[in-house]
C-alpha cells in the first residue's frame, strides 16, 4: 500500500454536505419553491410504442379552469437534438417511438388540474408496427424507426449504418478466423442481459423559468449541467448563454440523469404562461421515460491452446438502443476499449451494433456495457477452465494483460493492476482454488473486472478570501462525495483545515465548464482542474512572498496560514499579509485551472461471491461478498468504499432480480413492486480491500471508482451459482424460475 504523507488526502473525512442532508434540508428539484406563483406541469406521453400523430387538439383541455398553458411541438422551433445523433425532439411532431415519448405538456394551478387536463387533450394516433426486440430490428422486413436517419447530424461518436442500426463499431487485431482454425479448442456461447433501470430514488424533476429579459433559467436534477444546457438551448434555438441551468441536489443518478427529459417542455410552458413551471415525474413516468442500461446480446467465441492461453476471440454484440440514440451509441463506441476484458488476446475482433427499437432510449448506467460484457467474458473463463480441466484462477493469471498493453483501439493501458487485485481478493476472501464445495448447494465464484475510467474536460476557479480561506467554484455536481474530495485536494495544497475550504456548485452561467458527473471522471477531471487552480493560487502567493521572504518561489512552502522558506521555519510571512499586499498591487488572488479531454485509464477489480442455492425452487441467497478494487490512491477511503458497496448492490440487482419486462409492447413493471431492486435483506455482508498504487495520472495518483466495481458482479455470482449446482444460466437476470429450469434440465 502506498505510504501517504498528506494532511487531508487519504483521510476518511465525513462528507461536507452531511449536515444539510441528514437534517432533511438539502434542496432537491422537487423541493424548489420559487417566490410567487408557480405552476405544476405535466407531460402528455405517448401511450403507443410506435405511432404517427395525425392531429392534436388541445381545445377541451385549454377550456378547463386552472389550466394556464398547453404546449406542443407547434410551440417550439423545428429542431432535432441529441448528444450523439440529432434524432429526437423535445416534443414530438409527427411520430412517437416509445410509450412515454413526449407529445404535449400542460401547466396548471394544481397538479390535479394538470392531470385532468391531460385527459382532455385529444390526440389522433395512427398506430404503427412496433419493434420490441433488437434482432427484429435487424430484419429486412422491420419497419424503419427513423427513416431519415441518413440525414441526422452526427454530433459525436455515432456511426449510423443503415436500416435500424444507429451505430456500428468494429475493431480488431490479428486474424481471429485463422487463429480459431489453429486453436486446440474453440468455445462458443451466447449471453444475454436484460434492460435495467438506474432506479435512483428521486424521480426526474425540473423547474423552468422564463426571465424578464427573454432568457431562460432551468433548475434540473441532472448529472450533466453543461451538456444538458447545450441541448436545451439547441432545442429552443437560442444561444447557450441564454439558458442558465442550475443543477440541484441529485437523489441518485448512476448515468440516468444525463439525458434531456422535460426541461424544454417546462421552459416552453413557462414562456407561454408567464409563470415558473415545475415538472416532477411520477415513479411510473420515470420507469417509462428513463434511459436504462441497454439489454445486450453477446455472441462470444474463444480459441484456446492446450497450454491455457487465450489465442483468439470474437465478440459480436447487439445492443438494444431503444427509440433514440442516447448512451447506446456511446457504449457501442466505447465497447472495444473494454470488451477485451482484463486479458491479452492476440487475435481479437469486437463488433458492436446499436439498434433502434420502440423501447425507452437506453443510455448510460454505471459502467455502461461493462457488467454485460464481463458477464460473458468471465463466465466463459470459468466454463472453459472447467471443461479443459484447468484451474480457473491460474488460467486467468496466465492471460491477464501486462502493463503497457495496447488495446484494439490503440490506447496504451498504463497502471494495469489486474494481478494485484486478483491476489488481494483471493487473500481477502480466503479463496481456495480447489473446487470442493463448502456444503451441498453452496458455491463460490470469482470474476476479474476491467473498466476504463474518465475523461472529459473541466475548468475550476479557486479564490482566496481575505483571511486566507479558500472557495472552489465549480460547475460539477456531487453524487459520490466528490466535493468533499475536491475540498481535501484544495486544503492539501494550501495547507488549510477542511472548514477553511468551501466548495460551491454554480450554475452554467457562473461556473466555468465542467465535465459531467459520470464516467468515474469527476475526481480526475475536476480534481485536476481544482488542483491546478489551487496550484495557481499558490504560485501567486509565492510570487507575492518573494520580496518579504527574499527567497525564490522554488524554496517556499505553505504551512498553516503562512508562506515560509523550506528548512527555515523562522522565515515566514502570513498569507493574510500577502493578500493585503496583493490588494495593493496585483489584485485579488484567484486561481484558474483546467484539464482537457484525457486518455482513459484502465481500472481493475476482482470480486468473490458466495451463494447458497435452493435447488428445488431456484432461489439464490448471497451469503458473502468480497471485492478488491484498484483505486490509484483513495483521496477519501470512506467515499471510495461507499462507491464499491453501492456498485456491488446494483450489480446484485441486475444479476438476480432486475429487468424491465415488456409485455404486449409495453413496459409491464414500471414500479418498485415489480421492478425489484435489492432491499437490505437481499444484501450479504460485503468486505472490500483497496489496492493502492498511485496512478501516473490523476490528482495525487487517484483513479476513478464510481463505475468499475459493478463490472465483475454478475459473473462472480453466476460463477458461484455454477459452482454450487453445476448449471449456468446465460441470461440476466438469473431468476429463480430460470435457474430452476436449468437445474431440472440437467437432472
Amino acid at each position: 500500500m502506498a505510504a501517504h504523507t498528506y494532511n487531508q488526502v487519504g483521510k476518511p473525512i465525513p462528507r461536507i454536505d452531511n449536515a444539510s442532508k441528514l437534517a432533511g434540508q438539502a434542496i432537491f428539484a422537487e423541493d424548489l419553491q420559487p417566490a410567487g406563483k408557480m405552476l405544476h406541469g405535466l407531460v402528455l406521453r405517448s401511450p403507443h410504442p410506435h405511432a404517427r400523430i395525425r392531429s392534436i387538439d388541445t381545445a377541451r383541455a385549454e377550456a378547463l379552469p386552472g389550466v394556464r398553458a398547453i404546449v406542443t411541438a407547434q410551440d417550439l422551433p423545428d429542431r432535432l437534438v441529441g448528444r450523439y445523433l440529432a434524432d429526437e425532439r423535445a416534443l414530438a411532431t409527427d411520430t412517437v417511438r416509445f410509450v412515454g415519448d413526449r407529445v404535449a405538456a400542460v401547466a396548471a394551478d394544481t397538479r390535479e388540474v394538470a392531470q385532468e387536463a391531460l385527459g382532455l387533450i385529444d390526440v389522433d394516433y395512427e398506430q404503427l408496427p412496433a419493434v420490441m426486440d433488437a434482432f427484429d430490428a435487424l430484419e429486412d422486413i422491420a419497419p424503419l424507426l427513423h427513416p431519415r436517419m441518413a440525414e441526422y447530424e452526427v454530433v459525436a461518436m455515432a456511426a449510423p449504418a443503415g436500416g435500424n442500426i444507429c451505430s456500428l463499431n468494429e475493431l480488431s487485431r490479428g486474424d481471429p478466423e485463422k487463429a480459431f482454425a489453429q486453436a486446440d479448442r474453440v468455445f462458443e456461447e451466447v449471453y444475454t442481459t436484460g434492460m435495467v433501470h438506474q432506479a435512483y430514488l428521486e424521480p426526474h424533476a425540473c423547474l423552468g423559468i422564463h426571465n424578464p429579459d427573454g432568457s431562460f433559467t432551468v433548475h434540473s436534477s441532472t448529472q450533466a449541467p453543461f451538456q444538458l444546457r447545450g441541448m436545451i438551448a439547441d432545442a429552443l434555438a437560442v444561444s447557450h448563454n441564454r439558458v442558465r441551468l442550475v443543477p440541484t441536489e441529485i437523489g441518485g443518478g448512476f448515468g440516468g440523469k444525463i439525458s434531456m427529459q422535460d426541461e424544454v417542455a417546462a421552459l416552453a410552458l413557462a414562456r407561454k404562461s408567464g409563470y415558473p413551471v415545475r415538472i416532477v415525474m411520477t415513479r411510473r413516468e420515470d420507469f417509462l421515460c428513463g434511459t436504462p442500461r441497454a439489454g445486450f446480446h453477446i455472441a462470444i467465441k474463444t480459441g484456446v491452446s492446450n497450454d491455457a492461453k487465450l489465442i483468439a476471440r470474437t465478440l459480436d454484440i447487439l445492443l438494444d438502443g431503444g427509440a433514440y440514440a442516447h448512451g447506446g451509441v456511446l457504449v457501442s463506441w466505447a465497447l472495444p476499449n473494454f470488451a477485451e476484458g482484463p486479458y491479452n488476446i492476440p487475435h481479437l475482433r469486437i463488433t458492436a451494433r446499436c439498434v433502434y427499437t420502440n423501447k425507452p432510449p437506453s443510455s448510460a448506467f454505471r459502467a455502461p456495457g461493462g457488467p454485460q460484457v464481463n458477464f460473458a467474458i468471465e463466465s466463459e473463463m470459468e466454463r472453459i477452465a472447467a471443461e479443459m480441466g484447468w484451474d480457473a484462477v491460474d488460467f486467468r493469471r496466465n492471460n491477464l494483460m501486462p502493463d503497457g498493453h495496447v488495446s484494439t483501439s490503440g490506447a496504451t493501458m498504463d497502471c494495469v493492476m489486474a494481478p494485484e487485485t486478483l491476489d488481494a481478493a483471493l487473500a481477502l476472501s480466503g479463496y481456495k482454488t480447489d473446487q470442493t464445495r463448502p456444503a451441498p448447494n453452496r458455491g463460490r465464484g470469482l470474476a476479474v473486472g476491467n473498466w476504463n475510467v474518465g475523461g472529459m474536460a473541466s475548468a475550476a476557479v479557486v479564490k482566496l478570501n481575505d483571511d486566507g480561506s479558500a472557495t472552489l467554484l465549480t460547475g460539477v455536481v456531487d453524487l459520490t462525495g466528490v466535493h468533499t474530495a475536491l475540498a481535501q485536494i484544495v486544503a492539501e495544497v494550501l495547507d488549510l483545515a477542511m472548514d477553511q475550504v468551501t466548495v460551491k456548485t454554480l450554475d452554467t452561467e457562473s461556473a466555468p465548464h465542467a465535465t459531467i458527473a459520470a464516467g468515474s471522471q469527476v475526481l480526475k477531471s475536476m480534481g485536476d482542474a481544482a488542483l491546478r487552480a489551487t496550484e495557481h493560487v499558490r504560485e501567486q502567493l509565492f510570487a507575492l512572498a518573494v520580496e518579504p521572504l527574499d527567497a525564490p518561489p522554488s524554496r517556499m512552502e505553505l504551512h498553516q496560514g503562512d508562506v515560509r522558506v523550506k528548512g527555515a521555519p523562522g522565515r515566514s510571512v502570513p498569507v493574510t499579509n500577502l493578500l493585503g499586499r496583493a490588494m495593493a498591487t496585483s489584485g485579488p488572488v484567484v486561481g484558474q485551472g483546467a484539464t482537457g479531454n484525457y486518455k482513459r485509464m484502465p481500472s481493475f477489480g476482482t470480486h468473490v461471491a458466495d451463494v447458497e442455492v435452493d435447488p428445488d425452487t431456484g432461489q439464490v441467497q448471497l451469503t458473502g461478498y468480497w471485492a478488491s478494487q484498484d483505486v490509484g490512491i483513495a483521496v477519501n477511503p470512506v467515499a471510495v468504499e461507499g462507491q464499491i458497496h453501492g456498485a456491488i448492490v446494483q450489480g446484485i440487482g441486475m444479476t438476480l432480480s432486475e429487468e424491465m419486462i415488456f409485455h404486449d409492447d409495453r413496459l409491464a413493471n414500471a414500479n418498485f413492486l415489480d421492478y425489484k431492486i435489492p432491499s437490505v435483506l437481499d444484501v450479504p455482508p460485503i468486505e472490500t480491500v483497496l489496492v493502492e498504487q498511485p496512478a501516473v495520472d490523476g490528482p495525487f495518483g487517484a483513479k476513478g471508482i464510481g463505475e468499475p466495481p459493478i463490472v465483475p458482479v454478475p459473473a462472480a455470482i453466476a460463477n458461484a451459482i455454477f459452482h454450487a449446482v453445476g448449471v449456468r444460466v446465460t441470461s440476466l437476470p438469473i431468476t429463480p424460475e430460470k435457474l430452476r429450469k436449468a437445474i431440472r434440465a440437467k437432472a
Binding site: E112, T617, S657, D674, K676, D682, P736, E737, R740, K741
Partner: protein, 294 residues
C-alpha cells in the same frame, strides 16, 4: 385522483349507514395500503371514503372462552406478528404477518384489509384458511360469520354484500399436539408472494397425523384449501410416500396463471414443493417433544 368525501364514523352501525348512502361510490378505509393504490389507479369513481379507525375495539386481540382468539379486523400486521399468544398458538399466522411489506406497511396494513382486498397472494389469508378461521361480518341486516376460505369469489372480489363490513376474524382454539407453518416464494426478499403455502398439523397420541389442513396462495384465483392433504395424511407419519400423494393432488388442483412474476408452469411445480415443505416442517415441529404447542 378525484376528490371524495371523508368520514370517520365512531360506530360500526354509522359506518354501514354511511356506506348505504352511496353503495357504488363508497369505500371502507382500514390501513389504506391497498386502497390508496386503488384510488390512484382505479377506474371506478370513489365519492366517499369511510375511515374505520375511529371505531373503538376493532384492532385488538381477545381470547375467547373456548380458548380461540378473536382478532379485530383493523389489527395492524405489526401488532399481530408481535403478539405472544399468536406467536405461540398460531405461529404460521404470525410468520405470514411478518412478511407483509416492510415495517411502514406492517404498521398500517390490517388483517381485515389484507383479506378484503381479495388478492390470491394475500399472505395472512393462507394460514387463516389453514387454521379454518371464520370471518365475522356486519351489515344493516345483522351479522354473520363465514369461513375465511369462502370469502373470495375471484381476484379482488369478495362475497361480502355491498356495505357489509368485516369486523373480526375468529380463530378456533389451538389444537393439542399441533404445529403450523407458512412457506413463501418470492423473487427477492421484499416482494409479494409468487406463491405461498400454510399447513396445520395436529397429532394423535401415537405420533400419527390426526388433523391436517393445507392452504395455498397465488396458485388459483383465490386462496385455496387442499382437502386431500387431510384425507391422505390422516393416521400417517407424514412419510414421503404420503407427501408425494399430496403433492400430486396439489399439482392437479392448482390453476396458476402466467404473469410477469412467474409462469404458470413454475408456479404449478413450486406449489408441490412448498406444500411438501409446509407439511413436512409442520409435522417435524409437532412431533418434536419441545414442539411449540406442547
Amino acid at each position: 385522483m378525484q376528490d371524495f368525501a371523508y368520514h370517520a364514523p365512531p360506530t360500526v352501525a354509522e359506518a354501514i349507514a354511511l356506506f348505504a348512502a352511496d353503495p357504488e361510490g363508497s369505500r371502507y378505509l382500514a390501513g389504506g395500503t391497498d386502497l390508496f393504490l386503488a384510488l390512484e389507479h382505479g377506474s371506478s369513481a370513489v365519492r366517499s371514503v369511510i375511515d374505520l379507525k375511529a371505531i373503538p375495539g376493532l384492532d385488538g386481540i381477545a381470547v375467547q372462552p373456548d380458548g380461540g382468539h378473536r382478532l379485530g379486523a383493523l389489527l395492524p400486521m405489526d401488532d399481530l406478528m408481535r403478539d405472544r399468544a399468536i406467536r405461540t398458538n398460531y405461529r404460521a399466522l404470525a410468520e405470514s404477518a411478518e412478511v407483509v411489506g416492510g415495517p411502514p406497511i406492517r404498521n398500517r396494513a390490517t388483517l381485515g384489509g389484507n383479506l378484503c382486498n381479495a388478492s390470491p397472494a394475500a399472505d395472512t389469508a393462507v394460514p387463516l384458511v389453514a387454521f379454518m378461521a371464520m370471518a365475522v361480518l356486519s351489515s344493516a341486516s345483522g351479522g354473520r360469520a363465514i369461513p375465511v376460505v369462502r370469502l373470495w369469489e375471484a381476484p379482488g372480489r369478495t362475497v361480502l354484500r355491498p356495505g357489509e363490513l368485516m369486523t373480526a376474524i375468529e380463530l378456533p382454539p389451538p389444537l393439542p399436539a399441533s404445529a403450523s407453518t407458512f412457506e413463501r416464494l418470492t423473487r427477492s426478499a421484499m416482494d409479494i408472494a409468487l406463491l405461498s403455502a400454510s399447513a396445520v398439523i395436529s397429532l394423535n397420541d401415537d405420533g400419527t397425523c390426526r388433523l391436517v389442513t393445507l392452504a395455498l396462495g397465488a396458485v388459483a384465483p383465490t386462496v385455496i384449501s387442499i382437502p386431500e392433504a387431510g384425507e391422505v395424511l390422516r393416521d400417517t407419519n407424514c412419510d414421503d410416500a404420503a407427501l408425494a400423494r399430496v403433492v400430486k393432488a396439489v399439482i392437479e388442483t392448482v390453476r396458476p396463471i402466467d404473469d410477469i412474476r412467474a409462469s404458470a408452469e413454475y408456479r404449478r411445480e413450486m406449489a408441490g414443493v412448498l406444500a411438501k415443505r409446509a407439511l413436512a416442517r409442520a409435522y417435524a415441529i409437532a412431533i418434536e417433544p419441545a414442539g411449540i404447542t406442547r
